[in-house]
């Protein structure tokens, strides 16, 4: 697709769709550069505890006097980047498994399907607990634990899309023209399957964020001082009535991330439909 076609396909986006796509981009930049953006050291005491939000400390300070704004910024990094990485890895892995039969041999489909279904029926939370029990808590381990139950969804979508496309006349025409397996899969089938996969992935980012937060809540995430949004929310939940900013600010950040990624999912769908 050339640039002009891309520009034209972008034009019909509504305001909210643009907003979502741009927001997601800004979020990623903020998350990536959080270390430089924090006004205070997020890990050490910089002021008295329980200061309410002010111009000096935008989100106030927490129970031991750390700047909450800095911690939330860093929390966005600790939540957003792993979620993004997890979804991308699962997307690539799932797609690879899903198109395997089309790439190698159609008879593989039975095995692939059984393989995907096996992972799909695993009880996700239990597996995650088992993985963490074996490997010990930590960011990477949390991601592995979630990923085990996550990739089969993409494999399933990829497989279904391939099967849907394979019976379309234009794929049959390409087959009659003698297009080889690899080229057929990469050039003719994948671009058709990609929109469904990408849209599913974008809409999934918020689910992953929620799951990561849940894991932290259960104490299976990163160890205590790490500014993880879910963990921060759950730890401060009992001070909601007195010091509302402690649980609300990180929770609002989670909400913002999920909201933007859902809008971005809609935007992406609109872009891909246009092209």
């Amino acid at each position: 697709m050339n640039l002009i076609a891309l520009r034209e396909s972008l034009r019909p986006l509504t305001f909210t769709e643009r907003f979502g796509l741009c927001g997601m981009l800004v979020l990623t930049v903020v998350a990536a550069s959080a270390h430089w953006l924090t006004p205070y050291n997020p890990q050490s005491r910089v002021a008295p505890g329980y200061l309410s939000p002010s111009m000096v400390h935008l989100f106030g300070t927490d129970e031991i006097g750390r700047d909450l704004f800095s911690r939330v910024l860093l929390g966005i990094q600790f939540t957003w980047l792993p979620a993004l990485a997890l979804v991308i890895v699962c997307l690539v892995l799932g797609t690879l498994v899903g198109v395997l039969p089309s790439l190698i041999d159609d008879r593989l489909d039975v095995i692939t399907k059984a393989f995907i279904d096996f992972f799909l029926i695993l009880p996700g939370t239990l597996v995650a607990l088992a993985v963490i029990a074996t490997l010990g808590p930590g960011l990477v381990h949390t991601m592995i634990a979630i990923g085990v139950a996550w990739w089969p969804w993409y494999a399933r979508i990829a497989r279904d899309e391939v099967r849907r496309l394979r019976v379309r006349p234009h794929i049959e025409a390409a087959r009659a023209a003698g297009v080889g397996r690899v080229r057929m899969t990469v050039r003719y089938i994948l671009p058709g399957a990609l929109p469904a996969l990408l849209v599913a992935a974008t809409l999934d980012v918020s689910n992953v964020i929620m799951t990561i937060s849940l894991m932290s809540f259960l104490g299976l995430g990163q160890p205590a001082p790490a500014p993880e949004l879910g963990a921060m929310t759950s730890r401060a939940l009992d001070s909601l009535t007195e010091f509302w900013w402690l649980p609300i600010m990180p929770a609002a950040a989670i909400f913002l991330i999920c909201f933007l990624s859902n809008l971005a999912g809609d935007g992406l769908r609109a872009v891909l439909r246009g092209s």
Binding site: E172, A176, A177, V179, R183, P191, G274, S275
Partner: protein, 516 residues
């Protein structure tokens, strides 16, 4: 003077497509008087379906339609009407029979419930209506859900559903395109008789000149959103004024004219295709627990000689497309042998537009078959240009995606892909059935000229007697999974056509092919 049921004045409609406003109808004016059937004739993209949708107030909201002008239906203005008014009009004044009956019926409701929904009639009356549209055993049908009905039954139910509301106007938008060819005639006939009997007016939207000629009192020809011709049916057919109409009528007439039988090819060389004793079945889920075999072809025999053009005639569902796929090696037979001389044959598909991959440029798709040859860049360029030239495709279109091309251009691109490396055998799967008559005849002539140039053998599968007679050296008739008749085109067509007057006969395969 009597007031028209429908009066359209200065109607312009523009829809947003991919962000750009796109004029689909411009200054359209037409009247439908009580009891009259008016045909709207046009090729795909001419705006004929948008006209129907505008009359029903059903233009797709997602395309942000901009409508100006006026549509007055039994005294009520449709343009700018409120949702409530439109709903009332759609329930009581105008009804639609759409292209595809399966999507017009609710899969989760029984036929009885859906018919009740349409008009508050007693069960007895509903049965009468079903009988009136020619449904056998209305009691059984009423209990069923849409998926248990055949295509013909579904469309009959939809027609009954529309007519039992006793609308002032029936809009029939290509009511036969999704049906078996055998059924199309009967449905057209049904629409005509039931509209006449009820004294309703109808707007019959179609791309098929013949269907329009058969049932319409007047015809309006649409092209690119403009009315290019309108008048009484006989006048439009006998003295067309606009060049487009002239070409449509001429093309159909050329097809209908008897062809001189081309010299029969001597069969000395091994045939380009020989299928002997071929059987092919498909697995079919007959109920949630059991599966059955549905045998499409049974001991099928066919031979296509070197450089010969064989026409294979059959109604929809007779297994024609299966023959093509077996011959191309896309399917393998359950029993029997398929022998080909030379490399894999190429296929020209029924729907040229959907046979091109939307995200790959025309040039890349056309050049696909050059890849294994590993040509130099300049040689490759030369071959591509040559293929474009031979099929009459503008060179500039090579870098476009298929979505930017017209139907005719897609047809040429699909042909260019097949002949860029000339195959010994070209398989044509109803390549003209989705084209209007003038496009169809130019496609047929193009296939003909390419065939002589490269001395290709052609297997041409079609349901259309006129098309078969126009292209084929020899005809085979497929029915019940085997060849039931074979011979020169004139003989076979003679045997198939009912003896009554030839010119008025519908040019489709008549009923008695239905059962072996």
């Amino acid at each position: 003077m009597i007031d028209p049921v429908l009066s359209v004045r200065k109607l312009s409609v523009s829809l947003r497509r991919e962000g750009r406003p796109n004029t689909v109808l411009q200054d359209v004016a037409l009247d439908v008087f009580p009891g009259e059937i008016v045909g709207v004739l046009g090729e795909s993209g001419s705006g004929k379906s948008s006209l129907g949708a505008a009359i029903l107030g059903l233009l797709p909201g997602a395309s942000e339609p901009a409508v100006s002008g006026s549509i007055i239906l039994s005294g009520a203005e449709i343009v700018g009407a409120t949702a409530a008014t439109l709903r009332d009009i759609r329930r009581n004044r105008v009804r639609l029979v759409s292209q595809d009956p399966i999507s017009a019926l609710n899969p989760t409701m029984s036929i009885r419930d859906q018919l009740r929904e349409s008009a508050n009639l007693a069960d007895r009356d509903i049965e009468d209506w079903l009988e009136a549209v020619g449904v056998d055993q209305p009691k059984t049908i009423l209990r069923r859900y849409p998926h248990r009905l055949s295509g013909g039954q579904r469309q009959r139910v939809v027609i009954a559903m529309a007519m039992m509301a006793r609308p002032d106007l029936l809009v029939a938008d290509e009511p036969t395109t999704a049906l078996d060819y055998e059924l199309q005639d009967r449905i057209v006939e049904l629409v005509r008789s039931i509209v006449r009997r009820q004294g309703t007016s109808a707007l019959f939207i179609t791309h098929d000149l013949e269907a329009a000629a058969r049932i319409c009192d007047r015809i309006v020809v649409l092209r690119d959103g403009l009315v290019v011709e309108s008048g009484a049916t006989s006048q439009v057919l006998c003295q067309p004024n606009h060049p487009y109409t002239v070409s449509l009528v001429a093309a159909r007439r050329a097809l209908a004219a008897p062809q001189a039988v081309s010299a029969l090819v001597k069969k000395v060389a091994p045939p380009a295709l020989r299928m002997s004793g071929v059987s092919k079945g498909f697995e079919l889920r007959t109920s949630p627990t059991s599966r059955g075999q549905f045998e499409v072809l049974r001991d099928f025999e066919l031979e296509v000689g070197e450089g010969e053009c064989v026409g294979l005639l059959g109604v929809s569902g007779s297994g024609k497309s299966t023959v093509i796929r077996l011959a191309a090696g896309l399917l393998s037979p359950d029993r029997g042998r398929v022998e080909r001389s030379g490399d894999l044959p190429q296929i020209v598909f029924q729907d040229a537009v959907s046979s091109l991959t939307p995200w790959i440029t025309i040039e890349e798709q056309v050049a696909e078959r050059l890849r294994p040859l590993r040509l130099s860049a300049s040689e490759r360029r030369r071959r591509i240009d040559e293929a474009f030239e031979l099929t009459g495709l503008e060179l500039g279109l090579g870098s476009e995606l298929p979505g930017r091309l017209s139907v005719g251009q897609c047809q040429r691109a699909a042909l260019a892909r097949t002949i860029i490396v000339p195959p010994r055998l070209l398989l044509c799967d109803e390549p003209t059935s989705s084209l209007d008559a003038s496009l169809a005849i130019s496609a047929l002539d193009l296939i003909g000229s390419l065939r002589t140039r490269f001395n290709m053998a052609v297997l041409f599968v079609t349901h259309d007697l006129a098309v078969a007679g126009y292209v084929a050296d020899r005809l085979s008739v497929l029915s019940g999974g085997r060849v039931v008749d074979e011979g020169s085109p004139t003989d076979v067509i003679e045997r198939l056509r009912p003896v009554s007057d030839l010119s008025a006969t519908p040019l489709v395969v008549p009923d008695r092919l239905g059962s072996p």
